[in-house]
């Protein structure tokens, strides 16, 4: 059993971008929506389309991404969407507008307790789903389109210290080794009658039965660590700034994408804080559509 990365090299616009560009644009999108607290659909729809375009440009095969999409959509629609629809909380107070027309109500007889769905809450839930997808879609594409071997270099070039970047690089190098150790341990325990596929009992019993796998691999890794420390000390690690083997260079497309991301962030901040545009409101066309 080896850890298989979801990454595959593809000749796409998204994969030709510098990894730093991907992270910067993702952060710009998240910050544009969260820092000035944008809830206006006129901002949300273009931002969602911007994220969706990036996701589609990545050209990830359906068979690769369907499981992830399934889990993310369950999370977004059933947990976040339903939470917005039923409670109306977690966003602007305008979503709880008491004057908003009620479209569904089920109260416990004799009490004020129950479910009340208003047009305002429904619109809020839809906005909420769109908002989360706008932030999640570019993040979801990362594992499939960003080479794991470039993470350390990318973080270093984004200003993270040598030591933290090297930790990330080293972790990715260790991963196949420990996965291999885990395979050997599983095989060795199987030879003793241990069946990982048939862990019976309750949750506590299952955890206890995982100990014969987790303990040997963890202990072996601590031994490996001492050897690696000796090797790195012999090569004078941590005595002077490091050089990095992989080089990253921005291309014109990277400047374009970063410029676009920063412009989106600034536009959201200026319009919200400078002109008061971008807050939550229910558009008239939606109210008319629901009420007929």
């Amino acid at each position: 059993m080896l850890v298989t990365w979801k990454y595959r090299p593809r000749d796409t616009f998204i994969q030709r971008l510098d990894p730093r560009t991907r992270f910067i644009v993702l952060l710009c999108t998240i910050f544009a929506l969260t820092i000035p607290e944008i809830w206006d659909y006129r901002f949300m729809v273009p931002l969602f389309l911007f994220s969706l375009t990036q996701f589609l440009l990545a050209r990830i095969e359906w068979k690769d991404i369907r499981r992830t999409l399934f889990f993310v959509f369950i999370l977004v629609f059933f947990i976040i969407g339903l939470n917005g629809l039923l409670s109306g909380r977690g966003g602007p107070s305008a979503a709880l507008d008491p004057t908003s027309p009620i479209i569904f109500q089920a109260l416990i007889p004799g009490t004020d307790w129950g479910i009340t769905i208003t047009i305002s809450k429904l619109w809020f839930a839809m906005t909420q789903v769109l908002r989360i997808l706008a932030m999640a879609l570019p993040a979801m594409a990362l594992p499939y389109t960003l080479d794991p071997n470039i993470y350390g270099t990318a973080f270093k070039r984004m200003g993270v210290s040598d030591k933290v970047s090297f930790t990330m690089d080293l972790a990715l190098r260790f991963l196949p080794t420990f996965s291999h150790d885990l395979t050997i341990t599983v095989d060795a325990q199987r030879a003793r009658g241990y069946e990982v596929e048939k862990l019976k009992g309750g949750v506590i019993e299952k955890i206890r039965k995982l100990a014969p796998l987790i303990i040997p691999v963890t202990m072996q890794s601590t031994v490996t660590g001492e050897e690696v420390i000796d090797a790195m000390d012999l090569r004078a690690f941590n005595t002077a700034p490091r050089t990095w083997l992989k080089e990253l260079h921005y291309a014109p497309r990277d400047y374009f994408m970063i410029g676009l991301g920063v412009a989106i962030f600034l536009a959201c901040c200026i319009l919200k804080w400078g002109f008061g545009i971008g807050g939550f409101f229910v558009p008239d066309f939606f109210t008319k559509f629901i009420l007929g």
Binding site: R89, M140, T167, L175
Partner: protein
């Protein structure tokens, strides 16, 4: 076992941070088949015990790096994407028990194991509370959903994992360190 000052960040911390991260990522991926009933979006991770063990054994910097990078790797290997608040929450979960690392001198002693488990649970509370509460800003959920939908399931599952596996890891580590003389 603990010859360094608590906040030292040298070669040892880099290497054990990387090892902790790789182990946390690999074991999280391996145990993905264990799901938490009624909380489908949160996976059940026995590997949390390994993360907290690295914090307790090697200090807060190692715990922070192992948690942050390990969660990022685990999510990348599973194809879930990059969620900075959960990665940082996992980092805090490893860092907080690391604060007690200087006081853990005998990994076999019952009192010290209890202390490590207690700090581990504190780490889980701090880390998962941070991640759950930041979901209010990133996902726009309300406080009740953040607590009942995210914090409580992760707190319970991680606490159970740590209470069972951390003592075993500490005793195994004490035996191995005694044999190696480090």
């Amino acid at each position: 076992m603990n010859n360094n000052s608590t906040w030292e960040f040298g070669t040892r911390q880099v290497v054990y941070g990387a090892i902790g991260a790789a182990l946390y990522g690999a074991l999280s991926w391996f145990t993905n088949f264990l799901a938490i009933p009624a909380a489908g979006n949160i996976s059940f991770r026995p590997a949390v015990a390994v993360l907290i063990f690295f914090g307790v054994a090697y200090g807060p910097i190692v715990g922070l790096l192992a948690g942050f990078i390990g969660n990022t790797i685990g999510d990348q290997a599973s194809g879930y994407g990059f969620y900075w608040n959960w990665s940082l929450g996992n980092g805090l979960m490893g860092m907080v028990p690391g604060l007690i690392s200087a006081a853990i001198t005998d990994f076999k002693a019952q009192s010290q194991i209890i202390k490590a488990v207690g700090w581990g649970v504190l780490g889980i509370i701090v880390g998962m509370l941070f991640a759950s509460l930041t979901e209010m800003f990133t996902s726009g959920i309300d406080l009740a959903t953040a607590i009942t939908g995210y914090f409580v399931p992760t707190l319970i599952s991680n606490t159970v994992n740590v209470a069972i596996l951390l003592p075993i890891l500490m005793i195994a580590f004490a035996g191995m360190a005694a044999r190696r003389g480090r």
